[in-house]
Symmetry: C2
Subunit: 210 residues, 2 copies
């Protein structure tokens, strides 16, 4: 059930001589990949932070997903039907392993252990992706900016087992992640403060309720 696939434990087995995987490094703000139908890219982020973003016609940016170490992403998870391009951007220096999804099921010429373990772990890995996405849907279906903020804080708090939260990205990004206007979100943060729900010190939030 719990995701016992630990990339750290088997990354040592990764051999650069492996014929199926490509390892790439990206600098901050660099484009990691752009989702194009039917290329079936499957990526593992082994270092850094990145975002899957969409820019719409009105100039709005939306952070569809936020990836950190050991997260998986790629076209293979998307049936790209949207009009808007989806791109993955490095938020800081990133290291990424890139596969074609179908190649994961076949052993590479060197029969390396990396494939074997990855292939075996794939179901658990994808399952953890599902739970993550479901959490995301739960958050996005909240009706008001207030509920989205409280929901997000609550998730962070549960994850870090602390009432004091250091936001993993800027407030500007948070607004794009919650899919709301930044200034409206700032206003709502102030109201949450005024109403005694939170304490706010720059990008550090302390939850005062429950």
């Amino acid at each position: 059930m719990n995701n016992n696939f630990n990339i750290d434990n088997f990354i040592r087995d990764f051999q650069s001589s492996c014929h199926k995987v490509t390892k790439k490094t990206f600098n901050k703000n660099e484009l990691i990949t752009s989702y194009i139908k039917n290329r079936n890219q499957f990526c593992i982020l082994i270092a850094g932070n990145a975002d899957l973003v969409r820019y719409d016609l009105n100039g709005n940016r939306t952070i569809i997903e936020h990836f950190s170490k050991n997260d998986i992403f790629g076209e293979v998870f998307y049936s790209v039907t949207t009009n808007n391009e989806l791109i993955v951007e490095a938020r800081e220096k990133c290291e990424v392993l890139i596969y074609l999804y179908d190649d994961i099921h076949n052993k590479c010429r060197n029969n390396c252990k990396f494939h074997q373990i990855l292939s075996e772990s794939l179901p658990e890995l994808i399952l953890s992706k599902v739970t993550k996405l479901n959490t995301r849907v739960e958050l996005l279906t909240k009706r008001s900016t207030r509920d989205k903020l409280l929901g997000y804080f609550s998730l962070l708090s549960t994850k870090t087992l602390s009432k004091t939260l250091f936001l993993p990205f800027s407030l500007t990004d948070l607004a794009d992640y919650l899919s709301v206007d930044r200034s409206a979100m700032m206003r709502e943060l102030k109201l949450l403060k005024d109403d005694g729900f939170i304490e706010k010190n720059g990008n550090t939030i302390t939850l005062l309720y429950k």
Copy 2:
């Protein structure tokens, strides 16, 4: 890549003597299951339609996901951290196969083919769940009711290869699915009609653009 797991093809192999699976029938509006942490239920809807819904403190109902034939659902896909209960409700008469997720990996006493095929197909099955959820996230991140409606129509249109759409659920449900107020959505539908984007005849929509 494409989901080649077809339940119809192997449902014949399903034997009621299988020790790991439970088959249940639910009537319209009946509660199929309620998501409770750590029970690891994994379900396959083999007939009917159902919704995963959340009722919040303000009395709002949200349709988190809509399931139709061959869709999979269950607690195993959720890390239930939310305060609000999530329940799966039958929208019409439903037949459901219920597993405990961990049991899928073990053969049942009868060593039935059902398990074997299900177990082998699991990665693809879960992967298709991911693409579905990503599409859902794409839709929910749209900023306005108008964009949500157009986005939803566009998805339906792509799926059915037709500009004329028969909504798979009521307008009341659609509002709950898009996470917007029903009357506001009705108003927006009228505006879309007035602006010449759509034609609307009850619950049948015709797209006039592109």
